[in-house]
């Protein structure tokens, strides 16, 4: 009886260890942090992490090349702004002066290379604040989601 329950405990521990390993490695490249342009500017050095950058698309900053499907624009939180490059098809609601969240990495020259653009779903936009997390009021566009 003793050895039997010990066997269950060992089995349970193995399962637990395997599961923790799966979760840990899975989380490594899938947890995406949400930052504002000011927070991103304040960061020193480049990081290889995937980030979500949220703010407003600066009026007049959008340059698009429909042939190559490239989009260049600035994202601002009112205080700071970050240049963003994107290649692909942005969601329908994406426009200058509207809220957007982009997902990608900051490259070595300070341009945010986005792989995904998420546009804000409703009409009213309030700049991100601690008590009103902007990331929640944004709806990811399925079209541009990573596979």
């Amino acid at each position: 009886m003793k050895s039997r329950s010990r066997r269950y405990i060992i089995g349970g521990l193995i399962v637990l260890a395997a599961l923790s390993y799966l979760i840990y490695t899975g989380m490594q490249d899938a947890v995406v942090y949400f930052v504002t342009p000011s927070e991103l500017k304040a960061q020193t050095g480049t990081s290889d992490r995937f980030l979500r950058l949220g703010g407003m698309v600066v009026q007049g900053s959008l340059q698009k090349d429909l042939k190559k499907l490239t989009y260049r624009f600035q994202i601002t939180d009112g205080a700071q702004s970050i240049p963003v490059h994107f290649q692909g098809i942005p969601p329908d609601l994406f426009a200058e002066g509207k809220g957007a969240v982009v997902e990608g990495k900051l490259d070595s020259v300070g341009i945010f290379q986005a792989t995904t653009i998420m546009a804000k779903h409703s009409e009213e936009y309030s700049p991100p604040a601690k008590d009103h997390p902007a990331s929640r009021s944004f709806v990811p566009s399925k079209e541009t989601q990573r596979p």
Binding site: I23, R52, E123, K142, P147
Partner: protein
């Protein structure tokens, strides 16, 4: 008037539900059987009243009675009649009423079918069902009233979200709710068994068909949701690990585990506490799912309205968990397990491992879904957990499950001998490895898809091999021909053969997912009229745009001529629809589906002035059609498992 009738019915039904909760307690205290009979009457009364309330709302929707806010928000004068009816589950308030309606239909069926059986158990079963019903009725009556009026009465309604005006949306929510509600029945029997302390296998045997039925609806609800996402949402995918999808999928995991582990209890008297826990968790997750989607605490594609409903569901969830597990702890002395595992190589242990894997998958998905909440509450950091997490964590677990599907149904109970293993698994394993070798040489070099296909082949061969042996034995002994031997086998042991057919369906889904996850091609480009885009063996030529005014929207269609390996396969017309009530256009993708692959075209934009340019997204996704075929096979298997054959009821 309609609103008054509807709301009054809900309030009275709520009072009846309260009586249904109290009567069994009074009955058991005073020992008067009459009180038990009134419980049943209370259920039937609720059934009539909720049916009246639902009919009132449907009537108001069909007659576009815009004095009711819900009707004004979810229909217009132009809405076709069938979408007016389905407006019943177009938004939160109506969905809750539909849920309650299905719940009380199930409860009424339970009260009626077991009228003269399970005399001890039934009052408590009906009490639990009344409690759940009372909760929903309270929410409908006092927090999320679908009969709320609006003044001044608008001239026309706002209408359903056009994305929901689709045949699949007619079926997806009712299927899912039926699955959720179906789990309430085994849960109610389990709790009743705990209350009276009769913890033999009676509650499991009685609810077997109910559980299989609930599981079936849950499976179909999720598959139809995936189908809708793939065919209507127009992003080319069927599953995004969105919190709302996870909410619908999570109850499926413990429900599946439960279906398997109850067999161990029926057969060997083991796992009693485990089975009770599984059904409590499965039922709780149906409530948790509604809390998650309706509270607005997690951002999701499925933007639902929020309100007090989320908090109410969270409180009810806490109540269920505390009372159910409290009851379980209280009865712990009666739940002492009988024999332990005899051997690690046995059907019990295969089923146990299946359960461990399913619960692990549940845990990882649950963690991924609520991780953003934990992170923000604990560290104050806003994060999101993407699909890569869910894929990388669940794929190994699901592959292990596929392997177990090939082993579990064939391996011997108690202790599998070496001979048993060799007889059942040698040939299927050899056949699967041969297939793997062929696949490796000619097609597939990546490890995970190769493993997926090999394990799937192993399951198919082990099922076919086992069935073939049984059929051959019958042919020899009884002198039957193959077809009739198969039918007799299936009728004699319908749960087993139904289950095996369901397993084959799951394998088809696994093949579809493995193929489309690993070998999809995606291209996007902006084309001028006359230009061609090459994707895989396809060439797609843009031939122009056409705009036209439709009854409810303005439609822009692109014309794309498709060549498959040089052969013309017609003109595809992906569409963008502009609804006056919507901020942005709604796309309608077009696709051609074959059993090898789907070609999927999405029109994502066009030049409005010259109308000579279109932005196109093209996807080539292999084997997706197998997922939907798998759904049909699962339906067939479920029918085999629960079909009420007259003779098999005796022989079992």
């Amino acid at each position: 008037m309609t609103a008054t009738i509807g709301h009054a019915s809900v309030v009275i039904a709520f009072l009846l539900a309260l009586w249904g909760m109290i009567a069994p307690i009074i009955g058991s205290r005073t020992g008067r059987e009459r009180f038990f009979a009134t419980t049943r009457a209370a259920i039937l009364g609720q059934f009539l009243l909720v049916t009246l309330a639902s009919s009132s709302l449907i009537y108001a929707l069909v007659t576009t009675d815009f004095s009711i806010k819900y009707v004004a928000f979810n229909t217009t004068r132009a809405t076709p009649i069938y979408y007016r009816v389905t407006g019943l589950w177009g938004a939160l308030e109506g969905s809750l009423l539909l849920w309650e309606w299905i719940l009380i239909i199930f409860s009424g069926l339970v009260a009626w079918i077991y009228k003269d059986r399970h005399r001890e158990l039934m009052p408590w079963v009906l009490m639990i069902l009344s409690t759940v019903s009372a909760f929903f009725l309270a929410v409908i009556a006092f927090a999320s009233n679908p009969f709320e009026g609006v003044f001044p009465v608008p001239l026309d309604g706002r209408g359903l979200n056009p994305l929901l005006e689709d045949a699949n949306m007619i079926t997806h929510p009712p299927l899912l709710y039926t699955g959720f509600v179906g789990l309430t029945v085994p849960y109610a029997f389990a709790m009743a068994a705990l209350i009276i302390g009769k913890l033999d296998e009676a509650w499991i045997v009685t609810t077997r068909r109910w559980t299989i039925t609930a599981w079936f609806f849950l499976t179909m609800g999720n598959l139809v949701g995936a189908w809708w996402s793939y065919h209507v949402l127009g992003w080319g995918g069927y599953w995004a690990w969105d919190p709302v999808e996870n909410a619908a999928f999570m109850p499926w995991l413990p429900a599946t585990a439960f279906l398997h582990s109850v067999q161990v209890q029926e057969r060997r008297g083991m796992l009693k506490v485990w089975n009770l826990s599984l059904i409590i968790i499965a039922f709780s997750l149906t409530i948790f799912g509604t809390f998650l989607t309706r509270s607005g605490i997690i951002s999701s594609i499925h933007a639902f309205s929020s309100g007090p409903v989320g908090t109410l569901f969270l409180s009810f969830l806490a109540f269920i968990l505390i009372s159910s597990f409290g009851l379980l702890a209280y009865r712990a002395d009666k739940l002492k397990g009988r024999p332990e595992l005899d051997s690690m190589v046995s059907r019990e242990s295969a089923f146990l491992l299946n359960n461990v894997v399913l619960v692990s998958a549940l845990f990882t998905i649950f963690l991924g879904t609520i991780f953003p909440l934990i992170s923000e509450a604990v560290a104050g950091v806003q994060v999101s957990v993407g699909a890569p997490y869910f894929n990388s964590v669940t794929v190994p677990l699901f592959l292990l499950l596929v392997f177990l599907m090939g082993v579990g149904p064939m391996i011997a109970w108690r202790k599998a001998s070496w001979d048993n293993l060799k007889r059942n698994f040698l040939w299927p394993a050899v056949a699967a490895l041969t297939i793997a070798l062929f696949l490796f040489i000619w097609w597939i070099r990546d490890f995970l898809p190769l493993l997926g296909f090999t394990l799937s082949a192993f399951v198919v061969f082990s099922i076919l091999f086992d069935t073939a042996l049984a059929v051959r034995a019958r042919c020899r002994i009884e002198g039957e021909w193959i077809g009739s031997a198969l039918v007799t086998l299936a009728r004699r042991n319908q749960r087993r053969y139904g289950g095996l057919v369901v397993h084959l369906g799951i394998v088809l889904i696994v093949l579809g997912i493995a193929g489309s996850m690993s070998y999809s091609i995606e291209r996007q480009a902006t084309l001028n009229v006359g230009e061609t885009l090459a994707v895989g063996q396809y060439k797609i030529r843009f031939e122009g745009l056409r705009g036209s005014q439709q009854p409810t929207h303005y439609r822009v269609q692109g014309a794309f001529r498709v060549f498959n390996n040089g052969d013309e396969s017609g003109v595809f017309s992906p569409t963008l629809k502009f609804f006056p009530t919507q901020q942005s256009p709604i796309g309608r993708a077009v696709f051609r589906s074959t059993f090898t692959e789907d070609l999927y075209l999405i029109l994502s934009g066009f030049s409005e002035l010259q109308q000579n340019r279109a932005t196109l997204k093209v996807l080539v996704r292999p084997l997706v059609a197998w997922i939907w075929l798998g759904g049909l096979v699962i339906a067939l298997g479920t029918l085999v498992a629960i079909w009420p054959f007259k003779q098999s009821a005796v022989s079992e």
